[in-house]
């Protein structure tokens, strides 16, 4: 059984167009299903507006799904009582992109890391202090950091503080939303290594969201590719990177920058831009930019089907159907 499972999850937002305009519906996440196994990483990739951050918010319980369900260790979140939800919130924590914005500048680091403990556990001051020191040690920061303020730390160190806070309640799943993109290049590897070490040590699961494909490839066991609110392809990371099937995944991976000047890849340059989620294209949402577009793509939205071991939503691969 997967630790966390999302079944046909949707989140729609009402959007008003202009001052007098009618309202539209943004299907930020539209019928998305995925599973995260214990101790494993699910990487979600996609461009801005594809719904990856909304997906993260749904998993964190910061947004209520419009449709669909999230099951955590087999229990539907909708069916949980207040105590169950509280327990879920403790089990699922987050690390955000910008450690300059996610840490309160007026609080000492010790208080920042202790805050989840103070809110959720009835610990004595001494126990709390001991927990804070243990957490600082876990993320390789010196114990004296507890008495300092966030501005006294560099970006990489701040991200370590944010990770320590996320781990305070011994969560099972940590949502990592672009955890290294605000950091310097030479610091990113430190944080990615730390996250990998912590996963091994504590058996954490990660929902890893990033636009840096190489970082996602490096961190993930499984990868889901999103486009305009839908998963277009998902599967085991290595297989998906080696042989992407969906034309969008192929284009996205070919747009990734080379790792050396000698590396020559066939480059598929997509024409145009991601359409507005207020007016998504009919049929397959990718069809206006797709080089393999067929008549069928314009009318009917493809569903995810198994193709050579991973799931692909593309009419190219289910030719049997009329």
């Amino acid at each position: 059984m997967a630790m966390l499972e999302a079944a046909a999850l949707s989140k729609h937002f009402r959007a008003r167009r202009g001052l007098f305009g009618g309202s539209g519906l943004v299907r930020a996440v539209d019928g998305v299903s995925f599973a995260i196994e214990g101790g494993q990483t699910l990487g979600v990739v996609g461009e801005s507006g594809c719904g990856k951050t909304t997906t993260a918010k749904l998993v964190l319980g910061l947004e209520e799904p419009t449709e669909g369900a999230i099951r955590f260790e087999g229990c539907d979140l909708n069916a949980l009582d207040a105590a169950g939800r509280r327990n879920y919130r403790k089990s699922v924590q987050a690390v955000f992109q910008d450690p300059y914005a996610s840490l309160n500048p007026r609080m000492r680091v010790g208080a920042i890391i202790a805050e989840p403990l103070v809110t959720n556990e009835a610990l004595t001051a001494k126990e709390t202090r001991r927990a804070v020191l243990r957490l600082l040690d876990l993320v390789a920061l010196p114990a004296r950091s507890a008495d300092l303020f966030p501005h006294e730390f560099s970006g990489g160190q701040r991200q370590r503080i944010a990770i320590a806070r996320a781990l305070a309640l011994s969560p099972k799943l940590v949502v990592l939303d672009e955890p290294v993109s605000a950091l310097d290049v030479s610091i990113r590897a430190q944080i990615l290594n730390l996250l990998r070490d912590l996963q091994g040590e504590l058996g954490l699961s990660y929902l890893f969201i990033a636009h840096d494909l190489a970082a996602v490839a490096h961190m993930s066991h499984t990868i889901a590719v999103m486009y305009l609110g839908k998963i277009v392809e998902s599967g085991q990371a290595e297989a998906l990177i080696r042989a992407p099937k969906h034309p969008y995944t192929q284009a996205l991976f070919s747009a990734a920058l080379p790792s050396s000047p000698e590396e020559r890849r066939e480059e598929i340059v997509l024409a145009g831009e991601v359409p507005s989620p207020l007016r998504p294209p009919s049929g397959c949402r990718f069809h206006p930019r797709c080089s393999s577009v067929m008549e069928r793509c314009k009318g009917k939205a493809p569903v995810l089907e198994k193709v050579e071991g991973h799931l692909v939503a593309c009419h190219l691969y289910n030719s049997a159907e009329p």
Binding site: S186, I187, A214, A256, S260
Partner: protein, 337 residues
Amino acid sequence: MSPRALLELQNLSTHYVSARGTRVVRAVEDVSLRIAAGETLGIVGESGSGKSTLALTILRLLPPAARIPSGRMLFEGKDLLQMSDAEMRRVRGKRIAMILQDPMASLNPLFTVGDQVAEPIRVHEGATRASAWTRARDLLKAVRIPSPQARLSQYPHEMSGGMRQRIVGAIGISCEPRLLIADEPTTSLDLTIQAQYLNLLRELQRAHGLALIFITHNLGIVAKMCDQLAVMYAGRVVEQGPVRQIFRAPAHPYTRALLNSIPRMSDGRQRLTAIDGQPPDLSALPPGCAFAPRCLSAFDRCREAEPPEVAGVENSRVRCWLTAPGAGRGNAGTGAL
């Protein structure tokens, strides 16, 4: 030797001095670089390595606290530092143009796109509004903006990020400059849009014979776009040379560590080689080599004296005691990856 340089920086330094003169931040220190017409030079470094200050120095757009204590900047044979403000204004935007990182911040929200693309043409060439707007329309077409005529009378907020960045690009090439400096031009763009934009820049470069300076922290962009590379660390260029040479055999330990620390798609879930520590404070640099505290190959000399810049293989130049002649330990010169 490469062809005649379009721009040649000689021992250039830029310092920021605090109001009382007690604190000096050595943002750029003793930088020598050259770029020939039609060439692409990548300047790579982390935040605070001085790469953006270097760009602003070339255009002489530094804030009042900045001083240029030494150096020369020869552009088409003339020293930009000796030019009067009026002369410099005729260079800026006309001979040397710049594309900044954030297209939302570099476009004026109160003026139409047409006014902003036409402005340099009117200022530098004295064109009438009508003829400048006609040129502006052609420029929008050149940067692949659909229905350019209609877009001219729109405002920046009516466009997507990718389109805005292309408009900034159109302004950059509007007066057919010889040198275009792009400071992190694609960091705010999505991957597929970034690929479009980089290809566009390359086409514009070929069509106009532009020299391009790419300022970035992204080695992938350098691998894709550049002929020459300069790696900056703590205000100094620690290694420079042909991109292929440096990627194949980085000579400076910092370059080598940087190349090793980047995750690659093909590597799967291998552990990364991280660089410990963090970049130094530019107002309190350690004695000797600024990278020494983080360098795995550092020895006593590195902590005592600053290494000179010496010539390496294939026109490359390196600032490291390991490769400096007569330093006692000159064996790591071409350490392969």
